[in-house]
Subunit: 119 residues, 2 copies
DNA sequence: TGCTATACTATGTTATACGTAGTATGCGGA
DNA sequence: TCCGCATACTACGTATAACATAGTATAGCA
């Protein structure tokens, strides 16, 4: 399922923050993880993800360390800051609110059918 | 619940198309309906909604007629075109896909708790 | 007459998703 | 040993939508 550009807005950043919540990850790894974990729906390109990371770091949501991987290659590992955790919580709440609204309008399937529809 | 600008992207248009699915409505009425039906979450301002309508009409998703309301005031009534119906169906599908992805990532609450969480 | 709600138009700003292009390295096979 | 490929990241330009702000005009009511 190909998602339109504009619908992706807002979904990407929250997803990245969520992945970084557990443990640090590097860019290339995030791209892979997002794509796989969402079955291609949140498949961000490099030109989307990397600037997003720079942006988030500038805002203090994440921080990074450049470090050699076991393979010997240099990688930049990102992890959530305290601010990032707060932001994740806030944005998650907003996503739930939007979902509720979309549900109320009948765009997302109702509670009784949610399980089958989103299964 | 105040929703950030970027998270709103993509949500507005689908919601508007959905409201117009049933019967024609005019701009001011749509603003009101969106705000009320979503409990303020999809509360678009005039400067967001009107350009959105012009845009959608230019794309052929909706069409309009200017007509005097019972009150005597001129209003522009919008209704879905065939293309608009198709677009609504497609975007609805995409919204479901994104929701499923957000659910898989643990951002939206899981199936068993969806009913309570979104209730 | 003046105020308020209704109804719409116009313009400029900001943010981000993505296309495209380019750089550099580790590794496996021919 | 050398080539090609996957890995890993950087850089720049474009398009688009959400919104702030401002302005126009009318109906109804006190």
């Amino acid at each position: 399922m190909r998602i339109e550009r504009e619908l992706m807005r807002g979904a990407g950043p929250v997803a990245v923050l969520k992945l970084l919540e557990r443990h640090e990850m590097y860019g290339y790894e995030l791209i892979d993880a997002l794509s796989k974990r969402s079955e291609g729906v949140l498949a961000l390109g490099q030109s989307t993800l990397y600037p997003m990371l720079y942006n988030m770091e500038a805002k203090g949501l994440i921080e990074s360390t450049e470090r050699a991987a076991p393979s010997g290659r240099e990688r930049r590992y990102y992890r959530l800051t305290r601010t990032g955790h707060a932001q994740l919580a806030q944005q998650t709440e907003q996503w739930v609110a939007i979902s509720r609204a979309m549900l109320a309008l009948g765009i997302l399937p109702g509670p009784t059918t949610t399980q089958e529809a989103l299964a």
